[in-house]
Symmetry: C2
Subunit: 348 residues, 2 copies
Amino acid sequence: MADSPSPAAVTISAIAAEAGVSAPTVSRVLNGRGDVAPATRERIEGLLRTRGYRRRGSKAGDKAGEMVGLLDLVFNDLDSPWAVEIIRGVEDAAHDAGSGIVVSAIHRRASSTRQWLRNVRSRTSDGAVLVTTDLDSSLRAELDELHVPAVVIDPVGVPDLAVPTIGSTNWAGGLSAVDHLISRGHRRIGFVAGRPELWCSRARLDGYRAGLETAGLDVDPDLVVPGEFDYESGFRAGEHLFGLADPPTAVFSASDQMTLGVYEALRRRGLRVPADVSVIGFDDLPEARWASPPLTTVRQPLADMGRLAVRTVHRLVRGEAIESPRVELATELVVRDSTAAVPGRVSG
Amino acid sequence: MADSPSPAAVTISAIAAEAGVSAPTVSRVLNGRGDVAPATRERIEGLLRTRGYRRRGSKAGDKAGEMVGLLDLVFNDLDSPWAVEIIRGVEDAAHDAGSGIVVSAIHRRASSTRQWLRNVRSRTSDGAVLVTTDLDSSLRAELDELHVPAVVIDPVGVPDLAVPTIGSTNWAGGLSAVDHLISRGHRRIGFVAGRPELWCSRARLDGYRAGLETAGLDVDPDLVVPGEFDYESGFRAGEHLFGLADPPTAVFSASDQMTLGVYEALRRRGLRVPADVSVIGFDDLPEARWASPPLTTVRQPLADMGRLAVRTVHRLVRGEAIESPRVELATELVVRDSTAAVPGRVSG
DNA sequence: CTGAAAGCGCTTACAG
DNA sequence: CTGAAAGCGCTTACAG
């Protein structure tokens, strides 16, 4: 798992020797000059990649393994308050370690990803923290070649053990949300799911199911509605749930943003939180505190996840072993004012 | 205002010649080696600063004026959704220009500021965008010496014309908010102010006053309450305002976050928005859309301000002239569901 | 299209 | 504490 330190540094002249050309030719390829024979260029480019060439200043002391003081932090999108929580933790830990963080959004576009890789190569950052990114095998291979260690926060798919991932206990968090509602007497509990392709969404759903089943309750498929983690899909889910002939008395939704959409759907129907309906979210973004009424939710320690990601990348940079390729930080139920006992419940 | 390009590049040997020492000695100072006579060290450090020395790799082509592809983005704190809006715009424009952005939080601490400056020096970024930062004259002098051009978004004090600033039309925005409420028949309009030391807060307050005065209404000092831009101070302001013997029928608060606090204060008193009280905010953060009811607010184009900041820094890097040292982008009233006509108003 | 030569900016022993 | 020398990684003319 740990890279064996390359016996000789990967310099331009090393590459040149291996390719059977002179150093200036390799330099030309690196700088995108036109006047290199296609075959030569290809051979050199191949070597550059497989050997993981990275530009090293002149400084003789610039040995492999020394840190540049720059870490990349990559999101798909920067449009959610979710992102800033992670940035905060990553910035904090990086600052303590004397590193700067370079934040990018790649918008799920291959072209942006390629440009990001080009930038990483030219600026030679020490490592990368990728957030909810697919990190397909080709991207991983490229980072490997560049010798840029990566850590993934909140992996989208089944964790690939070759790259360390950091998540939270989504299943247990889902379970605790449902337990809380059941302890308040709720029996018909709706669930608004997150983006189905995401690993964490499935875990939260399964936690919801497990909570009901443990209490001896059936999972009513009518009460499980799809969502996309955003406000709009939460609003639609709320409209659907409370348009039902036999609506739930409580709703657990898999993100705070969707929960705010549920709030609005309830308000439009004249239903009050928590007097008429109890509502619980997931994440504990700042907006959960600011909702009216303040939202009961399952806290995900996003900033801590960011901090741990930085420490993990730094261990990898220094070639140290990491405890586990897969870490889940604990979620925590935060009870505020959006959950209450079932309205009008008769004693039995 | 534009730097005259230094006749000779600021290299280690240039500094050495000027200091009357050899290049290795300067190198030692730069790398913090201990074995340099204090007097020599001081002389060299002085020269390094006044000449604006910046580490330049070996590459012969690394002429002064070439871009590194890195921009610094500095916040005091990263704890508000406000920040992510600006990051989004800055990232977007920087990405288009092929630059990466290094984001830092300096927490208003001099020590963090110093560390940030050290980092800037070692990583030689092309320029800096500072958000709501004081940029006191010593910091400015240091950036000048490093030849790192800076732009300030949302300056805290009276704009210092030596550094370009980008803001929004706070005064006009405040005016438009009050106009909107007056057009709905409101006469008693409360105002929750922002942090008093900030320039933008004063402009919004003056806009509020101007709106009332234009309509021939008196400014009732009892209805103007201090705030700090955050949720908690908004909540307290709401409690105060609606504990008054003659409470307002509408409230304009100088940030969306404070407005959410006002929502909660109203909810606790059993007052409905907008049926009983109209409420209007400032910023148009995503949470304004997600509030229940969705919040009428004055939109500040934060992402656009970030984009413009990047373009401005890049002009400065290239030594181009900028149109104006002070730009204000237009605010825009966004009407949603939190404002309505005065309740129970008689026809006249 | 490619290489031998010269050179740049910087740093590391080494000597004093 | 300091400098002359050697050397590193890279690049730019220049010649062919």
